[in-house]
């Protein structure tokens, strides 16, 4: 084993890249859950975004268009979920699962002609002198623009949720939809918008995987990232700032695990590959144990809303 082969600055840099898809998807799901809706279809929306983004980026040669298409694709799929859950009052858990199963099938269907193709590369953002700094330049300031966009989106989500009227309304709906309805707030409208936002963010996260992180299209390439994003929301106790910490923690873990594989640790590769999932479970246990019964979850999370006339 040769640990000296692991370069700290490269590790920080790849940590940021590995965390970005998780951060995007988890931020989206945070907003959805804050509105009181549990969408378990993150994995399906991510993989749909991954293939939509990949296909459009390859066809148009523009990663920007690709990311746009991914957001649209994820949002479009989430609208199926929205229509079923909000309009037809279907069970949120089952519908979310259906979204994941359908998304996985649809994406591998669309993706068949894109296997083995290289996508156009997403350009690095030129941050001028910052990128030339020793260590910091390489670790923090030489990424593509999506990394910085995801950080900006974290701040934006935090600001909207905690500092604006829209955020207050959204949280009120998530805590008690009947009271919010009685106050004349548009429960379904806000929820539908939140679901669409969640879908778009999951789509962006998926596209980041297929366009930057890997970058290639393979069937089922999200490999549970959507489920980890759901776990990050629980880990973060439904707070935007902690979502960032959670995503970077899990991203860091993945990178560390990959680096250990590369460095030739005596553990078999399979055991290193399962470690992020095991740690996710461990973190879930610690978080749910500490809070016991009184959780930070929105009170109306997962409950159907049927306005009585």
């Amino acid at each position: 084993m040769d640990l000296s082969a692991i370069s700290p600055e490269l590790m920080v840099a790849s940590l940021m890249v590995a965390s970005t898809p998780l951060l995007l998807a988890a931020l989206g799901e945070l907003v959805v859950e804050k509105a009181g809706v549990l969408n378990l279809g993150v994995e399906g929306m991510m993989i749909t975004g991954a293939i939509c983004g990949f296909a459009i980026a390859v066809e148009s040669g523009s990663p920007v268009l690709g990311f746009g298409a991914a957001a649209l694709g994820g949002a479009a799929l989430s609208m199926v979920f929205g229509a079923l859950v909000l309009g037809l009052l279907s069970n949120q858990v089952a519908t979310g699962l259906a979204l994941t199963l359908f998304g996985l099938g649809l994406s591998s269907l669309v993706g068949q002609s894109y296997v083995g193709i290289k996508p156009p590369s997403t350009p690095r953002l030129d941050l001028g002198p910052l990128s030339d700094l020793p260590f910091f330049g390489r670790a923090f300031f030489s990424h593509d623009w999506m990394v910085y966009a995801s950080l900006a989106l974290t701040v934006a989500v935090w600001w909207v949720l905690n500092r604006t009227r829209t955020g207050l309304t959204l949280r009120a709906i998530g805590e008690n939809h009947d009271a919010a309805h009685a106050l004349g707030l548009k429960v379904l409208g806000y929820r539908l918008a939140a679901i669409a936002f969640g879908g778009a963010m999951a789509g962006l996260g998926g596209a980041y995987l297929s366009l930057v992180r890997v970058p290639q299209w393979t069937e089922g390439m999200t490999a549970g990232a959507g489920w980890i994003a759901l776990a990050i929301v629980v880990f973060a106790s439904w707070r935007a700032g902690r979502i960032l910490i959670g995503a970077y923690l899990f991203g860091g873990l993945t990178v560390l695990q990959l680096n250990l594989q590369a460095a030739g640790v005596a553990l078999p590769v399979e055991y290193l590959s399962m470690s992020p999932y095991l740690v996710t479970i461990l973190v879930l246990v610690v978080m749910s144990r500490r809070k016991g019964r009184s959780t930070a979850a929105p009170a109306s999370l997962g409950k159907p809303f049927h306005a009585q006339a």
Binding site: L88, V93, L109, V234, L284, R289, T295
Partner: protein, 362 residues
Amino acid sequence: MIALEKRAQPSRVWAWATPLLAVILTLVAGGLMFAVLGKDPVAALRTIFYDPLFDAQFASYSRPQLLVKAAPLILIATGLALGFRAGIWNIGAEGQYIIGALCGAGAGLALYPSDSPLIFPMMVLAGALGGWLWAMIPAILKTRFHTNEILVSLLLVYVAENLLASMAVGTLRNPDGGGFPGSRNLSQWPAAANPELIPGTGAHWGVVAAIIAVIFAYILLQKHLLGFHIRLAGQSPRAARFAGVVPERLVIFCLGLSGALAGLAGIFEATGPAGQISIDFNVGYGFTAIIVAFLGRLHPIGIVLAGLLMALTYIGGELASFMLGIPIAAIQAFQGMLLFFLLAVDVLTNYRIRLGRREVRA
């Protein structure tokens, strides 16, 4: 304006009609999907749903496959449905299926090349135990620490898949296999094989187990107090607590039973149709079984019918991929669509649709 009005009682007629309606809608939407893919929709649907059963050329091969593929689906879905009814969401059956197969195969292979008649029963027991243990992880974490069983059971699927990969190239690898990954062929080792019991039907021990599980689940749900508690806990957790239901015990029971059944399905598959433990011997039955459970309206008899239908889409899908070049992934999307339509039309069971202007009441 269209408004929904809650029914006092779920409609019995719609409860039976909605799965049929969902299947019809899926056929229409699936036909459209095939048309978009540039295939003749009628020919595609015919190849998937009619030819495997009735075509002179293919039926002799396909018909037995129906039971082979339906058995694991029914076995797993029966267990899952009990939990779903109680609001306990085990969605990691795929992982329990893998671990069941690994434990069963490992127990058998430890005694290779014995020809004792006890080998196969022991492997089956070990398989059920393995699935049960794997499901106990989310169950105990849920009861002790209130950890969400949906996320834990699902994340454990990825752990199980990695374990499978490690076992297939390591511990369980066939020592006489020339270094290729995969275990010894279990179906060719008489003491461990799970053969076709009645020639030409495809029925192996997994089919027998599935029938027993369905009858057991039916009696449990309809005639036994525990079944009543399961239904009550799903419909009204508060009322269930007053009726003396201990939620923790239900979680342990439902997750444990569905895990054991998934483990059984796994070992029957590894010793029979799959024949060995290989990196990709699992084909997603654990996930498809979720669709089967819902399509069967979480009812044991319904699950049998749903399991047969889903098995048909697997077989017909293979045939359509072979004959018409329709990608297998299209069948996956098709199955996902079915669950969507099912959940969508289910609104008719619990709500009445009112057309007309919504009145303003004072």
